[in-house]
Amino acid sequence: MIDRFEKIKRKEREAAAGVDYTIGVCVAASCLSLQGDKVLDAFQEGIEGPKEEGSPPSRCRAKGVGCLGLCSRGPLVSVTKQQDQPADDQSRVLYQDVTVDDAPRILEAHEADKTVPDILCPTDTPFFERQIKIVLENSGKIDPTRIEEYIAADGYHALLEAVTEMTPNQVIDEIVRSGLRGRGGGGYPTGLKWTTVAKAQEEKVKYVICNADEGDPGAFMDRSVLESDPHRIIEGMTIAGYAVGASRGYIYVRGEYPLAIGRLKKAINQARRQNVLGNGICGTTFNFQIEIRLGAGAFVCGEETALIASIEGKRGQPRPRPPYPAELGLWHEPTLINNVETFANIAPIIRNGGDWFASYGTATSNGTKVFALAGSVAKNGLIEVPMGITLHEIVEELGGGTANGHQIKAVQTGGPSGGCIPASYFETPVDYESLKKLGSIMGSGGLITMDETSNMVDVARYFMEFCMAESCGKCVPCRVGTVHLHNLLDKIYNGKATHKDLALLERLCSFVSETSLCGLGQAAPNPIRSTLRFFREEYLDLLVDEPVHAISEEVAA
């Protein structure tokens, strides 16, 4: 097997060595929407198309690659100079806002070992330099539609090592040692979850599920990983299957992500053909199959029990936990559910060891986190940063500060289940515990920056409107509570509410969060609570009566 991998690697190296420059055009969703595919066609046309008599063959080759990060300046194009060593970032130049007409210019310049300065994207900025790439190590470098490139970038080596040289327990030990925590929002220790599933009775059928239902309405990290490096997820899931003793896996993808679905399907077929998926993986007796299941537009299906109901073909309504899926999951069997980004960390951990992974990040939150940075900052896009980095660094350094001169006043993390953190707390390190202390959550990675022009009551109302529309309707506190909470916020925002309404709002917040069945309802009041905590005056300014003494005292306490 390793020979086969070596052969593929050699062939890839030879293909790259045949030219002097490799041009990578981003073909992930955001750049694609800005006509990245046409730009790629233009490059290909320029390289392979008809040329003048006698001109030498092109010194460039062009390929589609995954997300290059700075989505707001797309389509992005990278040009890498061929070297003996695998390219590092230094030998690469990046172009931004590339149009179809720019393609011949770029080609022409590089044929003559020059660059095109006017569309050059500076890469010596913190946005690029402060990032540490584990999950996104291949994004923007390899062609997501070719397994050969993934293998050439050391892909599937971790799987090979796991199934041929390690016992399932050793694999789990390595994950435990890494301190990896779930990236889907909750931050539950991944090693512990794997241990629980592995310990479930041996004779049982078990399942591995990848949660790719990315529902946070301002986040697109998971999608980007799936589009830019789909094999990474397949490898992570297969290793998980080996570790916990499962032979079947499902990837539950949002139906809104046709590109990711297509690439995954293709990747699964390629992996089967290379014998890194299917029966007798890598020549061992280990079998693992992966199927794709499509979501159909329901945020609550990101909740694990609802997701399971949805895979079973039912309405995506959660059920009370315990029992947890690790015990009683898909078709009543023990089931391991992890997020896309969690699975994306598995292969590097096995390849480099748990201790290596644990050397990144803070004491309780190891590794890196991918964020979708958006909103009022100058640079929008996808970033991967070590845990423990401060919000200030993310907003001011990577994000480049405000885009329009308006002071940035808060960042929102965790989407509809998270909260708003005011600028005065920007020195807070980004880790699970610190964010929780501020009434927000790490969430899946949406990070929206807001400036003075945003009203926090309006922001809270927006998220409550989302929760109201996405509530499954099973339990009373969430079904009715989200409507009442939304109506109250609407009333406040429209300047019709009194202090009594505000008191009611606060009381209902704790009621809804404590009595709701699933995480959606339990976390729905978070945006209200955090904006009330840090931006109370914005609420008070909108009220129409004088405070009643008794209430304001209660509030102060």
Partner: protein, 165 residues
């Protein structure tokens, strides 16, 4: 168990083959319901009563359950869409940058709500939560093409070309 006779497709439209194929691949199990509905919608554009009945009987699933599932998931459409679609992003980044104003303007000018189609069947107005182009927010997708950095006026202007074709 008695082997059930397979229900015949509602019409001899050859496209039912795709629907059959999805169900067969999943062994006609009830759990294939959502997958099958996806195929029906992909093939025919929406889910009509006839196809729901067919799917229900083929997968041996109660009618009310099929209806319950198809109305739970917002991606499933029980009515045909208009000739053109306009999907306004209402994700967080777009909201912060004023997507609700776009939406209001379109709603007002065309007198439709999200999820509805104009009476002349020209335009369907839809919403989506983050289409992954937050960097150029606010955005809307016109017949599959993303348009970024919109204003209310620009959003309506872009719709006007659909008025009479």
């Amino acid at each position: 168990m008695i082997k059930q006779k397979q229900a015949a497709p509602p019409s001899d439209d050859v496209r039912w083959r795709f629907v059959m194929a999805t169900m067969r691949r999943n062994g006609f199990r009830r759990s294939a319901l959502i997958e099958t509905l996806h195929t029906v919608q992909e093939t025919f554009g929406f889910l009509d009563e006839e196809s729901l009945r067919y799917v229900a009987s083929s997968l041996n699933t109660p009618l009310s359950q099929v209806y319950g599932v198809s109305t739970f998931y917002h991606l499933f459409k029980l009515k045909p869409a208009g000739k053109h679609t306009c999907v306004v992003c209402t994700g967080t980044a777009c909201y912060i940058k004023g997507s609700s104003n776009l939406l209001k303007q379109v709603e007002k000018d065309y007198d439709i709500k999200p999820g509805e189609t104009t009476p002349d069947n020209q335009i369907s107005l839809l919403t989506a939560r983050c289409v992954g182009a937050c960097g150029v927010a606010p955005v809307a997708i016109y017949d599959g093409t993303i348009q970024g950095e919109l204003t209310a006026d620009k959003a309506v202007a872009l719709l006007e070309r659909y008025q009479d074709d």
